[in-house]
Symmetry: D2
Subunit: 275 residues, 4 copies
């Protein structure tokens, strides 16, 4: 059983929380706690080997914690996700394969593409694919069509697996701290479009990828994880795009693993990650 | 103030320990706890912002913890170390420079070399250097001469910074969990002498280094940290030795930082590292 | 057009080879040459932008090179491969996905499994799957059944994508320098079975994977590429197996990319890799 | 003997260059050639085992190469450098130690500091230190004082080892392609001052360092090499500064090794690095 708690910090929280568990003879086999002293914010994740009635624990925790504490007990072992894509296959395929072999830590409910290119691969894995074109309609209409589909599945997370449209604040506001994006650069370098072209022109020796939660500001959301990989003078933009696919896949996979394993806390524009 | 505790596991330990701190209004800003379920062993490291009388805390912890618990409260901010070397300079120089600029997290009391080659660099930093030759004497005599020097400094740790002699069980037994060695391979590959020559002959594409505590079995002690670095066909043994120096320096530096920061627990032939 | 040459070294080879190309006004845009001075062996890979008649170039190269020179001009842009598997899906799935999206640099002709577990994923991608059990028959019979299938496809390479049977010298001899294996450790550490269990017991802080050509000696063939990844005290054997899957997939993918791109030379028990 | 050549590309260059060497029975043991097709620029680095009269080779190369070709034959085995510093010791100390143990690949002629803090460490290694304050004078005067000192040593390179003043175009113009800087971020992220503070505020999970040649545009010069290292939520700005020191030292050391080994070509705002 995993328990994650986020709240304003005050003295005695660890003692109060673990006291509840000790009284029930629950043994903590792993615990991570961190206080962000700048924000006076408390984060904790712990694992106990035995299961216990969640509602009962919840009410006892609420009694000892500050009023606005975010408490999650025994989170869903398999979250549901909806994946948004455009044309590039690499991140989606990795997700579909892991979903098929039950190693994703979540279940893919559906895939929405603003191009039809990736419908076939979804069909091969029996995953519903919805083609929602963004063409010849305003953004609100496009997003409403997607929202309607998404809401029928009530997913815990939306995963933007190389979805190349910018989402409106109105859309994002419907799914707070629920939208995960993979950006094809090591942010804050190369914000926005064509990062590999910019990287080539600058002559960098590293390219990277960043998985982050989506907020209203483009590429400014809380970062979950990032990686870089070496490139050299022999690689033109197209080669960097190809190399980048490997690292984008790897970074998004790692971010999903962390999120699905309840190791990521979001507060304002940052994350706390107990990896 | 840092508190580190290691003991047999039982239910309620975190609650008991943090209860002591809560009663004294001490606020925990960082806590890591791990239970090794195979060994039924409990490890915890925590930081509180305020200082408190160590003896008083110690006695209260002893009251709530199992009898053989290892408890360290407010460990020495700067440990003393004695460094043993042979002829290679790179690890020693890194230690001497950091010691000189007060960023080692420990103080170098003295250096012992079984060759005189590194005396000059020590003198430049005003560090006592003792030349103790291993030649023309038996190992026990050699080690006794070193022991005599070491004991005058009563160091918390002995650091083997490319010390190329194998130490006897009798010597090692005098400094349990106190001797840290840098081995020039990613153990358990290439145990023993000439790892780079063996690496070249095998045609590996990675070489590495391992920092570990020294026990009686050659290169079998508890590993603290390891790193690898790429090599290729163009590198002959001498090139690998040169590349290896960089990584040996880096790995030993990281291990010392972890140990001096009280982040490493040793139990049997393994470590728990809260990095 | 790519040209790769391997032969005994002698003075003037680069001049002789590039003289042939200059006479035909072919412009070299990338060239790597390496002489292994220990073995007196010459390796070269070059790229020219224009195409040219391969037979004509070959005969001219043969005129200026030592008799036993290995020369490959304009190698097949897409090699054919047959993949051998057991039960684990991760390496195979990565290969099937890239094959499906034409980014493998080779074509998967067929998959052979000594268990039927991976038949379904192959079918989903329309790749022929042959179940060849090793049970209730001697190794020669088992291997003959596989050989018969393999030969009908005449592949350039056999890829052992987590194939957990040891192949006999007789089988290996049929496919010299053509069999690529992924081993789940950073060789030469943890040769043989259960490397993750051994890694856990030793308490290493890195695990790794090695892609190599298969020779008669178990896990002793020429290494193509290797990588490592950090692990810590919280990971038991099963966790290391899971972490290992990511790196095994990545290392095999990189090795295949290098081999299919004609960047890997094999000589005796080593490789030269122009990456 | 190392030969490096950079010029406009044309068909037949490799053949022409290696033909000169073959006629003199010089054996090429390593060769890297790259054509930047965007810029139509040719880069080559080769090694021959034997020595030969440089002037004679130079005139023969000039005969077969385009008029403006940059040819360096048998470059100085040990370049002279002058190091500019401010207050931080880590990069300078690494350079001084390697210089002292003759493993720098260059000789440190002098160190100039705009603060006196690092004079003592230089004295300990018998390296001339010049304190040139930037205070109470205009930039031109400050730079003229430095230039006067530098010119007395006629160094091949100026190394800015955490020199925290921006140099004027007039100063930079005196040392084209000769000034190497270490910037404490993975450019182009966090250009300018206080990159670690910005990194902390953005909540990045990686920090990095970049070694580059200095041109007139701040932090926009040709990049030689870059590395990144993981950080997490527990690290505040001061911790990132500390972690950054390790990677800054490592990146500058690697860049210097590449430059001193004649593996770096500069053209416009990019480099070609044969590492």
């Amino acid at each position: 059983m995993v328990i994650v708690i986020q709240c304003a910090d005050q003295t005695g929280l660890v003692s109060a929380i673990t006291g509840v568990l000790a009284a029930k003879k629950l043994n903590i086999v792993s615990l991570r706690e961190h206080v962000d002293q700048t924000e006076n914010r408390f984060y904790m994740r712990l694992e106990v080997t035995e299961a216990f009635e969640a509602d009962l624990l919840l009410s006892e925790f609420q009694r000892v914690l500050p009023p606005a504490a975010l408490i999650t007990i025994n989170p869903l072992p398999h979250k549901k996700i909806v994946v948004l894509v455009t044309k590039e296959y690499h991140c989606l395929a990795d997700i579909l394969v892991k979903n098929y072999f039950s190693s994703l830590g979540a279940t893919v409910s559906a895939v929405i593409g603003n191009y039809p290119d990736l419908e076939d691969i979804c069909k091969r894995f029996n995953i519903p694919f919805f083609f929602v074109s963004h063409e010849n309609k305003d953004k609100a209409t496009f997003e409403d069509e997607m929202t309607e589909i998404i809401l029928t599945y009530a997913p815990e997370y939306l995963v933007l697996a190389k979805f190349m449209r910018i989402l409106s604040p109105a859309f994002v506001a419907q799914f707070p701290k629920q939208i995960i994006n993979i950006h094809h650069s090591f942010l804050p370098a190369f914000i926005g479009a064509n990062p590999y072209k910019k990287a080539f022109e600058r002559g960098v020796k590293l390219i990277g990828a960043t998985a982050h939660f989506v907020t209203n500001d483009l590429d400014e959301g809380p970062i979950i994880t990032q990686q870089t990989i070496s490139v050299n003078h022999s690689q033109v933009t197209a080669d960097m795009v190809k190399t980048g696919k490997e690292i984008e896949t790897s970074v998004l996979a790692k971010a999903l693993r962390l999120v699905f394993d309840d190791r990521v806390f979001v507060y304002r524009n940052k994350t706390v990650v107990f990896d």
